[in-house]
């Protein structure tokens, strides 16, 4: 077989560019870009069409409401990128809320009680991690079990009573805003955590290991990544941060109840998946997740202000979640069909 390399000598030389598209297109076309675009469009649409949306207290309430989801979405992203899942986060929120409430009722000052609650969350996460990495159980099953267990412990400790007499100082702190802006003070905590997680995920070997595990945990192990240890650490992280979110939730609403935050895990997972993290593991970025959380939050806030009932918000969240994941599959399928024309022809 002779090649025609030399015979076409007078053809113009091929120009190679670094990328086939200009920068702005490359940014927009990633999954995260789509979420950002959707977020901006929804904000604009809501400001124009919903009365009272544009006022500053809307942003304040929005951020106050969405903080637990923002907080938990950070470690949840890492967990999902490794290909695992943690359904027990909302139950840990409830458990830490109850621990805070019972200890406060017993007379312990809030900082000490909060510390204990965080330790409880870490232990809960460690238990998950132990079952998943040491015993080798699938994370879906384990976290369904611990979802029931931790929620059961929370409800069992307090019954259906709620502890509600928290000192003004702490409940005000939870809802305080920075200076004259409408931004809640908890946002500082969130931004610090966001930066920490982003650095770990995108700029450290540990973070590269997380992506590697998601893409192929066997290959990762042979490349020297401590798969089991990494996963264990991640589950401890989800437990700890969920406990932190639980403390905030309790102080913000002024009510510690075993039922607090029931169903929160669905919102977190929906936001994470919406933000471009693949459920199969191996891809995702934190900024997309933040945009995903904000997108759901803004939608919910706008619809609530427009007196649309919360069930419609739920329908939209559910449909968005399904659509975002299905669209990936469908478009992959379409692309696969297009780039393999040879297979569709019958063999001679």
């Amino acid at each position: 077989m002779t090649t025609d390399l030399i015979s076409g000598g007078t053809a113009s030389p091929r120009v190679y560019k670094d990328y086939s598209r200009p920068l702005w297109q490359r940014i927009l076309i990633t999954r995260e870009g789509a979420v950002y675009a959707a977020l901006i469009l929804v904000i604009i649409g809501a400001t124009l069409s919903v009365r009272n949306f544009g006022s500053p207290i809307t942003m304040t309430y929005l951020l106050l409401d969405v903080t637990p989801i923002l907080l938990i979405a950070l470690p949840m992203t890492l967990v999902i990128v490794t290909g695992e899942i943690d359904l027990s986060v909302a139950s840990v929120v409830g458990l830490s809320s109850v621990v805070l409430g019972t200890l406060h009722q017993a007379g312990l000052p809030i900082p000490a009680a909060a510390l204990v609650a965080i330790v409880v969350g870490a232990v809960a996460g460690a238990f998950n991690g132990f079952l998943i990495t040491v015993v080798g159980l699938p994370s879906l099953a384990v976290t369904i079990g611990t979802l029931a267990l931790y929620r059961g412990l929370a409800v069992g400790l307090l019954g259906t009573t709620a502890v509600t007499d928290f000192t003004e100082f702490w409940t005000d702190l939870a809802k305080s805003k920075i200076g004259g802006t409408g931004v809640p003070t908890v946002m500082i905590l969130f931004v610090v955590l966001l930066i920490a997680f982003a650095i770990v995920l995108h700029f450290t070997p540990f973070g590269r290991g997380i992506f590697a595990i998601g893409l192929s945990s066997e290959a990762a192990k042979f490349s020297g990544v401590h798969v089991e240890r990494t996963k264990f650490i991640l589950f401890v992280l989800t437990g700890t941060i969920s406990a932190l979110a639980g403390i905030y939730y309790t102080l913000r609403f002024g009510s510690a109840r075993g039922d607090n935050a029931t169903g929160l895990e669905l919102s977190v997972i929906a936001a994470v998946l919406l933000g471009g993290v693949s459920i199969f593991g191996g891809r995702g970025a934190l900024h997309g997740v933040v945009a995903g959380v904000l997108l759901i939050g803004v939608l919910g806030s706008a619809l609530r202000l427009a007196n649309v009932t919360s069930d419609v918000i739920n329908i939209i969240t559910g449909v968005l979640l399904v659509a975002s994941v299905v669209s990936t599959s469908v478009l992959n399928w379409v692309r696969a069909k297009r780039t393999r024309p040879g297979e569709s022809k019958k063999p001679k």
């Binding site: 490359r26 927009l28 076309i29 990633t30 999954r31 870009g33 789509a34 979420v35 675009a37 959707a38 469009l41 929804v42 649409g45 809501a46 069409s49 919903v50 009365r51 009272n52 006022s55 207290i57 809307t58 309430y61 409401d65 019954g159 259906t160 009573t161 709620a162 509600t164 007499d165 409940t171 809802k175 609403f253 002024g254 009510s255 109840r257 039922d259 607090n260 891809r283 997108l295 939608l299 706008a302 619809l303 609530r304 202000l305 427009a306 007196n307 649309v308 009932t309 419609v312 939209i316 449909v319 968005l320 659509a323 975002s324 669209s327 990936t328 478009l331 992959n332 379409v334 692309r335």
Partner: protein, 346 residues
């Protein structure tokens, strides 16, 4: 690192998300009936009712009463509420109402303290807060419309059950949620009344049906099984008594275990007519909502401030005076039984 570029995918997703979102907000905006304006405006007669939870016959009636009143003075009526009777759910709705700048909120509280901060934020923004049926701590609201004195409500139920079980035996209480201000107040007074005046009656258990029908139903079944010598059940919540009656009607305890408490005539008619329940008590919830709406109107227009001695007129119900602690009394509880239940429709 760039992961796979998804040309059409990202665009499709963005388009989908935006379409869904804009359609939803567009639909909502087109029937956005809430008349915003800013709170604190003395002409802002947009009053929203926020019951403990939606889907509760008692609150349906009270809120309709409020709607009728608001129609009479040309205000704007709205009703919002959580599906489950929990305090933190109510906080979210109160926040939304604050943002919307309504004139007044009429709320039945799931907890005396948990919603205080949210209510005070609303009041700071100029919204007037009226509690009805179930109160909060007095510093978080402007006026409380009480259906009757708590002592009176507790006493009528204790009297009824004592009469029905022959003034001796074991009884149990099937309440609503564990934190509900009103039920807890009545239960405390019932216990005091029992100790003082009915030494032969023992209260063996208090269970919580969470104002949820299925839970109350199952809790009744569990009560009857756990305490085989139970002679009577008192349920100071309309959801609880209806569910308990439904269970009793098909169980072997019908007629042997007495059931009384607070119920609405329409829900209880069946059970009174076939003997499952002899008598129960209530007041007219429609009047309660009606009065709450007029009180809110009086507050918004500046006629009263909620101080003791303030007087205002409440349409067809006449004149009312504010008592101690910003409380307004509707009237006395009323006992329903087989003789008079056919006269009522709520």
């Amino acid at each position: 690192m760039l992961f796979q570029k998804k040309t059409g995918r990202a665009g499709a997703f963005a388009a989908l998300a935006v379409t869904v979102a804009l359609v939803a907000t567009g639909c909502a905006a087109s029937d956005d009936g809430g008349d915003g304006g800013s709170g604190g405006d003395s002409g802002n007669l947009a009053i929203t009712f926020l019951p403990k939870n939606l889907g509760n016959a008692y609150f349906d009636t009270s809120d309709k009463g409020g709607e009728k009143a608001i129609g009479e003075f040309d205000g704007t009526y709205a009703e919002v509420g959580p599906a489950e009777a929990s305090p933190d759910a109510q906080v979210s709705y109160i926040n939304t109402l604050t943002q919307q700048g309504v004139g007044g909120i009429a709320i039945s509280a799931n907890d005396p303290k948990a919603i205080c901060d949210a209510l005070n934020e609303a009041r700071d923004a100029g919204v007037k807060v009226v509690t009805f049926d179930s109160d909060t701590n007095p510093e978080c609201r402007d006026i409380f419309i009480n259906q009757a004195t708590s002592e009176g409500i507790a006493k009528v139920q204790v009297d009824l059950i004592a009469e029905q079980i022959g003034d001796e035996g074991e009884i149990a209480i099937l309440s609503a949620t564990a934190n509900a201000t009103n039920q807890n107040a009545w239960i405390e007074l019932m216990k005091t009344d029992l100790e003082a005046n009915h030494p032969n009656i023992t209260l063996v258990d208090t269970v919580y049906g969470d104002d949820d029908d299925q839970t109350s139903f199952d809790k009744t079944a569990a009560l009857l099984q756990t305490h085989p010598d139970l002679k009577g059940i008192v349920s100071p919540t309309t959801v609880g008594i209806a569910a308990a009656a439904r269970y009793l009607q098909t169980s072997e305890f019908k007629g042997k275990v007495a059931l009384t408490g607070l119920g609405t005539p329409n829900q209880m008619r069946d059970y009174v007519e076939d003997g499952t329940v002899t008598a129960f008590a209530l007041w007219n919830p429609a009047d309660l909502g009606y009065l709450a709406a007029y009180a809110a109107k009086a507050l918004i227009e500046g006629d009263i401030t909620g101080a003791e001695g303030d007087k205002f007129t409440a349409g067809d119900l006449g004149d009312y005076e504010v008592g101690a602690d910003g409380t307004v009394l509707l009237g006395d509880p009323y006992t329903f039984d087989a003789d008079n239940i056919s006269e009522f429709d709520f």
